[in-house]
């Protein structure tokens, strides 16, 4: 039974926690995380103040793209356990008030999926049209190559059926062909399978690429929206009022993502990708301009919809949604080591990106938790885990969770060489220095602080549902905004710079209110018609609730 069914808009207030079963906790000592291990850590997740877990792909897969190459949509990868293990985990999560999203890899399959094996077996195969075939690799040339570091074309030659097949990602991930209506029905059958097991929704992978049309970029096409709205309609019809969620992954500019909300009848949520690099940029520039600009170009969305925002995730810190100058700046500042760069991004974790600076980690999370949208926290970032860029691709940010200072960081009892990949062992971010056990015991740890900030965020709906209005103090190093929900007003003030700042805020509309600092409860002087003066330490921040008393 999913928690809190009474509120179908639960996702507007939720804090999400992204994790990979493989990376979280190994219960059987085979060196690979599994559902039984994850179930054993649910109390930890609940205490973190999380509302919903987003699971990375858990399906049978050759794991050439960390599970995004699905070989069987209706089962559990044997490394992670069984379907019964998953059900047990899901029940245990729900019992703790946690919801669970799973991945719906809708655009492509693994080349090991039975559909593709059958489709490539013969040009006359019944499932041939489940995929996109061509006798030439010169079609759809308007489509960009996303994994530009590894792929040279969106077409790959199939030596068995002697035709090219279309793939927007790796060549071993052939794109499904939604021009064949059977593919839609197959995908709905898969969704229904998991919904009937009790999952609370899907993070839908790579949604802009479902159709291909000549003369276009093959992204965000009208046919794509038709299919997605049809899936949503099925969801609403068959699971009415149950709060089932569809979350879109569309790494696009906000105006291009906007159509995925449609009139509130397509996706409930979509990630706002461009916010993330601008948080990094604003803090490095010590200037609020990038954040103000990106929110200014963010369109209105239906009131029942919500943006998803994040600092880091399982992919590289994508720099696709910035200008060339901005990308060069971010690469120079955050990825001086060329090995840290991947595709159009930076494959590093949050703590490593800010050189372990606790003040900047806090400030970024303060922005994440108070900006417009629902925050996503990537597993391990709550304790400041580091990365290992020597592992190639994006594996460096997918290392085992660091639970204790014992062998393998408490992740697994296996011999270290049997781990799916090594734990972080460097002196700064290694499991002996950074682990849950130590941070649970320290009230001043990053983990304890993260619990506090999620707790404060959960104390009010203003962060998830409130309006967002910038203040414009003359000091551009200070970012200040008001969140408003009903009669509740919260003032957020952030010093983006590494030096102490003074700022004068024009708060006259709130004249008469008393700011109460939300983390400590301290009372500040009443707001008047005069500019409200605050002094702030380096990377300092305030959340004030403005009380009419």
């Amino acid at each position: 039974m999913a928690p809190g069914k009474a509120d179908p808009l639960w996702y507007k207030d939720a804090v999400f926690y992204e994790l990979h079963v493989r990376s979280y906790a190994d219960s059987n000592g085979d060196g690979i995380g599994d559902f039984r291990g994850l179930e054993g850590k649910l109390d930890y997740i609940a205490e973190l103040g999380v509302d919903c877990i987003w699971l990375l792909p858990m399906y049978p897969s050759p794991l050439r793209d960390d599970g995004y190459d699905v070989a069987d949509y209706s089962s559990i990868h044997p490394d992670y356990g069984t379907l019964d293990d998953f059900r047990s985990f899901l029940d245990a999560a729900h019992a703790r008030g946690l919801r669970v999203l799973t991945e719906l890899v809708i655009n492509h399959t693994s080349d090991q999926h039975p559909w593709f094996i059958e489709a490539r077996s013969s040009r006359d195969s019944a499932k041939r049209s489940y995929y996109v075939w061509s006798d030439t690799d010169a079609r759809y040339e308007g489509a960009r190559i996303i994994f530009c570091d590894t792929e040279k074309s969106n077409w790959a030659w199939d030596p068995i059926s002697k035709e090219f097949y279309w793939h927007r990602f790796y060549a071993h991930q052939p794109d499904l062909n939604y021009d064949d209506p059977r593919v839609f029905e197959e995908m709905w059958r898969i969704m229904k399978f998991w919904l009937d097991h009790g999952v609370d929704g899907f993070r839908v992978d790579a949604v802009p690429y479902l159709f291909e049309r000549e003369g276009t970029s093959c992204e965000n096409l009208p046919e794509t929206h038709t299919v997605l709205r049809a899936l949503r309609r099925r969801l609403d019809d068959e699971y009415p009022g149950m709060g089932k969620l569809l979350l879109a992954e569309a790494n696009m500019w906000p105006e291009d993502v906007r159509p995925y909300f449609a009139d509130g009848n397509e996706f409930h949520m979509a990630f706002h990708f461009p916010v993330m690099p601008r948080i990094f940029m604003a803090i490095q520039l010590e200037d609020r301009k990038p954040l103000v600009e990106i929110l200014a170009r963010t369109p209105d969305i239906p009131s029942e919809c919500q943006w998803g925002i994040f600092l880091r995730n399982h992919d590289e810190l994508t720099l696709e949604m910035v200008t060339r100058e901005e990308r060069d700046y971010l690469w120079d500042e955050y990825a001086r080591n060329p090995a840290a760069r991947l595709n159009l991004g930076i494959r590093r974790r949050l703590a490593a990106l800010v050189e372990g600076d606790r003040r900047r980690i806090e400030l970024m999370n303060v922005l994440l938790m108070s900006f417009t949208g629902s925050p996503f926290v990537y597993y391990g970032d709550e304790i400041g885990m580091g990365d290992n860029i020597a592992l190639g691709d994006r594996n460096g940010v997918r290392t085992p969770m660091q639970w204790t200072r014992e062998r393998n960081g408490g992740f697994s009892g296996a011999d270290p060489e049997r781990l799916y990949q090594p734990v972080i062992v460097d002196p700064v971010y290694g499991y002996e220095a950074v682990n849950v056990e130590a941070q649970v015991r320290s009230p001043s740890s990053l983990l304890s602080w993260m619990k506090r900030i999620t707790g404060v965020r959960r104390s009010s709906k203003v962060f998830g549902r409130g309006e967002f209005a910038f203040l414009h103090p003359s000091n551009h190093r200070v970012l200040a905004y008001i969140r408003t929900y009903g009669e509740e007003n919260v003032l957020v003030v952030c010093n983006l710079s590494s030096t102490a700042q003074a700022v004068e805020l024009a708060l006259s509309p709130y004249e008469g209110t008393i700011p109460v600092e939300m983390f400590g409860g301290s009372v500040f002087p009443r707001v008047s018609q005069q500019p409200y003066v605050l002094t702030m330490g380096p990377y300092g921040y305030y959340w004030f609730i403005l009380r009419w008393l």
């Binding site: 906000p254 929110l295 200014a296 963010t298 369109p299 209105d300 969305i301 239906p302 009131s303 919809c305 919500q306 943006w307 417009t372 309006e467 967002f468 209005a469 910038f470 203040l471 008001i482 408003t484 009903g486 009669e487 509740e488 007003n489 509309p509 709130y510 008469g512 008393i514 109460v516 400590g520 409860g521 301290s522 009372v523 500040f524 002087p525 009443r526 403005l546 009380r547 009419w548 008393l549």
Partner: protein, 437 residues
């Protein structure tokens, strides 16, 4: 539609300040507190020093590790009460006894404006508690001259340590004292909400910060009757909302000595009028409840005192007989002809005997009449007053030779009579204004 960015607009919820600039500055200086003790004051120069000292001794004694604040909300004293509160030396030997305070003790006296009366003071106290995030709020009367530090501490601990939302004191009050509570307020609310709270209208109590904040944001302050009946409103609010309520045995000395009691008829009108209004506005909260249960009572029970108040039974009986006769035109539509006749028969004999069942039925029917709007509520309550005097006179004469336990057993008979007559008279599915009698 939801905009990513809106323009700054006129915020909702703009309302006049509750807290003065000076008070906000004082509260900011005091900072976040665990416990706020509020004392509504108005010309209490004769007693306030002793009460403040008792609170301060609690602050340096049982609550020494908590962050505490004493806030006296003054309704416009002209006798120097605020100056006395501010001027007391917190580290004077008679305050500290043998202990030194661990932290700075904060003590504020602030005037409040707007609607005068107890509710105005409580509103300031609750607002201050909400602002500084107090986890427990304790209300103390300014004339509780024999207040002990244990009394304050026990109330506070029940909130802080045991997690109760509203805590009322139980004292070793004599069974013959406060008949308005024992014969009407307590049994009426017990029957209504099923909770056996012995002192439902006690003006000294503790509550959680959350309860105070919820009450602060409610509309009860706008009700005319809140001015003198805020304690009844808070009690019924707690009972209706299902928050955890407890009562604590407090040293009898913590019971206040009200120096300026209004006439009995006026007190009756105020208390019963508010109780009826509380019940009338919350029919869905109690009409379906049947029976009652104990609520947690903390601390060791104490033997009641044997004080017999100097009530004039002859005067009570006389007022009862005259009232039954003179107010018959009002009473008949209120309590019905049969019960009016029963009261008339009771009035004709000496000594008086007003049975608990008859009394309980009269109260429920009077409530029903006020709920139906058959007569103005104030008239209904006024007509009930002589019947109340008759019931009190009967109780006092019947228990003249009784022991305290025996007299308390009579209270239980009254309470059960209210429960039983409620079951007969109140429709469990009553919608507002449709209480069946």
């Amino acid at each position: 539609m939801t905009s990513a960015v809106s323009s700054l607009r006129e915020p909702k919820g703009h309302r006049p300040h509750l807290l003065s600039e000076e008070l906000v500055r004082d509260l900011a200086a005091a900072g976040q507190a665990d416990v706020l003790v509020g004392i509504p004051t108005l010309d209490n120069a004769g007693t306030i020093a002793a009460v403040v000292r008792a609170v301060m001794s609690t602050f340096v004694g049982p609550l020494a590790r908590e962050r505490t604040l004493l806030l006296a909300a003054d309704g416009g004293s002209s006798d120097g009460t605020p100056e006395i509160v501010r001027g007391l030396q917190s580290d004077a030997p008679d305050v500290l006894l043998t202990r030194r305070a661990l932290r700075t003790i904060h003590r504020i006296s602030t005037p409040y404006h707007g609607v005068p009366g107890r509710s105005g003071a409580l509103r300031i106290v609750f607002a201050a508690a909400s602002l500084i995030g107090a986890r427990a709020v304790v209300l103390i009367d300014p004339d509780a001259v024999a207040l002990t530090r244990d009394g304050v501490a026990r109330l506070t601990r029940a909130v802080l340590d045991d997690g109760f939302s509203l805590v009322k004191p139980v004292t070793r009050r004599s069974p013959w004292e406060q008949p308005l509570v024992t014969q009407l307020a307590a049994p009426l609310l017990r029957a209504a909400y099923g909770k056996r709270l012995r002192e439902p209208v006690a003006t000294q109590f503790a509550c959680s910060g959350r309860f105070a904040a919820d009450a602060l944001s409610s509309d009860l302050w706008d009700r005319a009757s809140a001015g003198h009946g805020v304690d009844e409103w808070l009690t019924t609010r707690a009972m209706s909302s299902g928050v955890r309520i407890a009562q604590v045995w407090a040293p009898s000395a913590s019971e206040p000595i009200h120096q300026r009691r209004p006439p009995a008829a006026e007190v009756f009108q105020q208390v019963v009028g508010v109780l009826f209004e509380c019940l009338r506005t919350d029919l869905h909260g109690w009409t379906a409840i049947r029976g009652s249960s104990e609520i947690p009572t903390l601390g060791a029970a104490e033997e009641p005192t044997l004080t017999r108040p100097p009530f004039d039974l002859t005067e009570f009986a006389s007022a009862f007989r005259q009232g039954v006769h003179d107010l018959a035109p009002l009473l008949e539509p209120t309590i019905g002809a049969d019960d009016l006749a029963a009261f008339a028969r009771a009035a004709a004999v000496t000594p008086l005997h007003v049975a608990p069942e008859l009394w309980a039925r009269a109260v429920w029917r009077a409530f029903s009449a006020s709920a139906r709007g058959a007569l103005p509520a104030s008239q209904v309550v006024a007509s009930l007053f002589p019947l109340y005097l008759g019931r009190v006179a009967a109780f006092l004469s019947e228990t003249e030779a009784a022991s305290a336990p025996d007299a308390n057993a009579r209270h239980e008979e009254v309470a059960l009579a209210f429960e039983e007559t409620k079951a007969l008279l109140v429709d469990p599915n009553a919608a507002p204004r449709e209480v069946r009698t």
